[in-house]
């Protein structure tokens, strides 16, 4: 039943211009506009709902698309299809440049930058003489397709909705892919994504550019539908309205863009008729209603209306059985591993200062392949700081970290991850709404190479199967097979830590950094975790472990380093450590 929904919807859309009588031209126009707006809102779904960034300047990108084609086709008589390519290229360049400038900084600089850019481009359109100033440009030629000129709204309808449906499908494909997972990881903060090898700055620029490109195509379509452009539809007000559409419809869902565009467009028509009569004045009073609805939605249903509607539908029309599965696929290639016993990590005299606070003071130790090295010490001893120094999350102030013989203390965490170091976090960093499988598959990010262009055309399926199979393998390995498709956030905290281990393993590491993996686990779970770590050790993986559970550490570790107040207190075999008077004093207090 539900599988038929989409084909039915498409068939219905295709029939609209055929069945509507010529007296109902208004509805064709309305649907054309909904399609154009939805295309822009779709870009915002990717940017805001999925990536956690936002832009109020999408209308300006629509303007770039519209004005490029309007000017080139009227002033130079160029073919609209050629100007589409040029508009696309121009938008891409502008978006890349703006993205490079604003995306390196905190989240709010992008929206503020886009507000400024939206205003400035609007005034620019209105002041360039060859663009016709505020009066605009007319006489734009119609688009020809297979020798047929698309002059009427009904003919153009198909072009708009085909473009929109292609956009929807491409976006859905993209989200369900390796790059899609990386993009969804942006919302969970960049630290985890970077530690899994994701170049977060690049992905932010990518989604900003894709959103701009959708807007540009919408603008190109608009110009050839209207055959006339002026600056008004590209103002900041319209840019804000696009964001309203996406947020009210459901900014995290591809179909939310359509829903939002439809709702706002129809509501606007209705309110523009109603409100001036009601208030006895003319003016754009519908913005009052839109603004209030926005505030209400953000307070009460931050994910927009689409998920609310879907929940109702689920209740009456259950989705009928869980069809999710992992298809078998050829295993991913594995990296060359160092021979057991070789030193893989050397920490030499590492010091980390935060302002006046010295969190690590000249600490040195090594980890060998095929051993479990435990880092223990009271709270605040600087263990997690040391982890961050080693994994490049927060590089050391002084000292050297060598991994597989090369210095890594000045490398970014994603570069270190590429060399075969993987880690978990003390404060679990999973994407709570994503399935366990998808979360773990982020760990395998660097083992794939197909990117968003492949993904949107579904040229990545072979690799995607292999990545998913790898993720599934690691989930089974850590004993969470039954939770494979559950939302990661629905698991108890202890199990979430285990998911983090599976994610780290999906990277095929030769060194594993585990920050308190046993915290929150029950006795039997701890035993099976210890079993897993022993097995990994026997495979030649080096493990560096921070843990407070002494039974767990003493039973598992080959060697132990004890830290206190940022300094190394002792190092040795578990038995030596247990008898070391300094360690006893640090843990139990001195004997008076």
């Amino acid at each position: 039943m539900r599988r038929l929904t989409l084909p039915l919807f498409v068939a219905l859309l295709a029939l609209v211009p055929v069945v509507l009588p010529s007296s109902a031209e208004f509805y064709v126009t309305l649907l054309n506009y909904i399609g154009l707006y939805a295309l822009v809102a779709l870009g915002l779904v990717l940017l805001t709902g999925v990536g956690g960034l936002t832009s109020f300047g999408q209308a300006a990108f629509v303007g770039v698309g519209a004005y490029t084609t309007a000017w080139l086709t009227t002033a130079f008589g160029w073919n609209p299809w050629l100007t589409l390519v040029i508009a696309f290229a121009a938008t891409t360049l502008v978006a890349l440049a703006l993205g490079f400038i604003t995306l390196r900084m905190g989240g709010h600089y992008l929206p503020l930058g886009t507000i400024a850019w939206g205003i400035s481009l609007y005034f620019l359109f209105g002041n360039i003489e060859s663009f016709g100033g505020h009066t605009g440009l007319g006489g734009i030629p119609p688009v020809s397709l297979f020798g047929m000129e698309l002059k009427s709204g009904r003919e153009f309808y198909y072009l708009i909705w085909i473009a929109l449906m292609l956009g929807v499908v491409a976006t859905q494909n993209l989200l369900d892919s390796r790059d899609g997972r990386a993009i969804r990881a942006l919302k969970g903060g960049v630290v985890m994504a970077e530690a899994m090898g994701v170049n977060t700055a690049w992905y932010k620029i990518v989604i900003f550019t894709i959103a701009a490109q959708f807007a540009c195509v919408s603008g190109w379509l608009y110009a050839h539908l209207q055959r006339f452009v002026n600056p008004t539809p590209f103002s900041l007000t319209q840019g804000i309205e696009y964001l309203f559409m996406a947020v009210i419809g459901g900014v995290g869902h591809v179909w939310g863009a359509l829903l939002g565009a439809g709702l706002i467009t129809i509501l606007k028509q209705w309110l523009q008729d109603l409100l001036p009569k009601l208030l006895g004045q003319s003016g754009n009073f519908e913005v009052i209603v839109f603004g209030l609805v926005m505030i209400f939605v953000l307070h009460r249903a931050r994910d927009g209306l689409w998920p609310v509607i879907m929940q109702r539908i689920e209740r009456f029309l259950p989705s009928g059985g869980d069809s999710r599965q992992v298809e078998p696929a050829e295993a991913l290639p594995r990296r060359d591993r160092p021979v057991g016993g070789d030193t893989i990590l050397e920490v030499q005299q590492v010091t980390k200062r935060f302002g006046g606070l010295t969190a690590n003071n000249s600490v040195s130790f090594t980890v060998r392949a095929g051993e479990v090295m435990a880092l223990i010490g009271p709270n605040g001893a600087g263990k997690s700081t040391m982890f961050n120094c080693i994994s490049g999350v927060n590089p050391p102030t002084e000292g050297e970290v060598r991994f597989l013989g090369q210095r890594v203390d000045r490398l970014l965490s994603r570069e270190i991850a590429r060399r075969g170091m993987s880690r978990t976090f003390q404060h679990v960093r999973l994407l709570p709404t994503m399935s366990v499988l998808d979360n773990v598959a982020i760990g395998a990010h660097l083992r794939g190479s197909r990117h968003f262009v492949h993904a949107s055309c579904r040229l990545d399926r072979d690799e995607e199967r292999r990545l998913r199979a790898e993720a599934a393998k690691q989930i089974e390995r850590v004993g969470l097979a039954e939770h494979m498709f559950d939302a990661a956030g629905s698991l108890p905290l202890g199990k979430q830590r285990i998911v983090e281990i599976a994610r780290a393993l999906a990277a095929d590491p030769c060194l594993l950094l585990l920050d308190e993996p046993a915290a929150g686990l029950r006795y039997l779970e701890k035993q099976s975790l210890a079993e897993l770590l022993r097995k990994l050790r026997s495979e030649g993986i080096g493990i560096l472990l921070v843990e407070h559970d002494m039974d767990f550490v003493m039973g598992l570790a080959d060697r132990i380093v004890v830290m206190e107040f940022g300094e190394k207190l002792a190092e040795g075999l578990p038995k030596q450590i247990q008898e070391d008077p300094k360690v006893l004093q640090a843990y139990l207090g001195g004997v008076e």
């Binding site: 989240g107 620019l124 964001l243 754009n284 913005v287 953000l298």
Partner: protein, 345 residues
Amino acid sequence: MDFQIALLLGQDGLTNGAIYALLALALVLVFAVTRVIFIPQGEFVAYGALTLAMLQAGKLPATLWMIAALGAAIVVIDGAIAIRHGAARRLPRIVLSNLGVPLALLLIVPNINAAGLPLIAQIALTLAVVVPLGPMIYRLAYQPIAEAPVLILLIVSVAVHVVLIGLGLLFFGAEGTRTPAFTDGTLDLGVTMLQYQTLWILAISAVLIVALYAFFGRTLYGKALRATALNRTGARLMGISTTMAGKLSFTLAAMIGTFSGILISPITTLYYDSGFLIGLKGFVGAIIGGLASYPVAAAGALLVGFLESYSSFYASAYKEVIVFTLIIPVLLWRSLTSHHSEEEE
């Protein structure tokens, strides 16, 4: 451009820059304390000027009905919460604190000849009518989601902005107005003429900036706001209510915005939607200061003022393009110099 024109433009730039600086300070303050990027800051400029104009025209300012309506909405929400928590005895206080001022003003204003009052009384009335909008908007739009991500708060700000723009059109109409100068006439300095209003603007801006400085440095509430800006959780553990801090910072922002509107409406015609661009220019200044540094934000705002006034001479049509494009090199400079800071922990 001769020396005379340069001086004249400089005077313009300085006057506008002083206003932008005030707004930039308010924006930095609100952002630091509440993490709200207060896009509607500019609306207070327009509301202030147009409310004053309505009072002077002998009309009942529509903003008065707005504070009454918002006050009533808060009474309903807070009242419902109080009753649900079995604290119905708090109801009189809730009613009084939210509807007291609006109802008193609704009783007083129509029965006095506001148009005949001295200017200073009219200004005081305007402040009394418009400033309560600040904390009321905070209570209704922001307080329920005070811990939401900056991005969500920003989108709420934009929503509040469009609501205020729509209401502004409804209240004040599409006509622009000017109000009379505090002191008429000009001061002849020999090389140039200086309007007295310009002097008023500069003097009052300076006084306000010094007053804010003293407020933050010397008073308990000022220190509480600074503590909240530094660390919300820490401040709360010290017994500082973040809700109080939010309302207070919005009150200050509303006051600064309203007063800025009153200051500039004698020298420039303000429409219901003029405030937005004025506020955004304050923003450009605030961003130059990284939304964190008060002195750099103020200096940035002055720079915006000068840039605007000189570019209006050379390329008047492109004035806004130039001012808002300035933000691009500024952002580039900031992104290259500031260390890429991590959002968490």
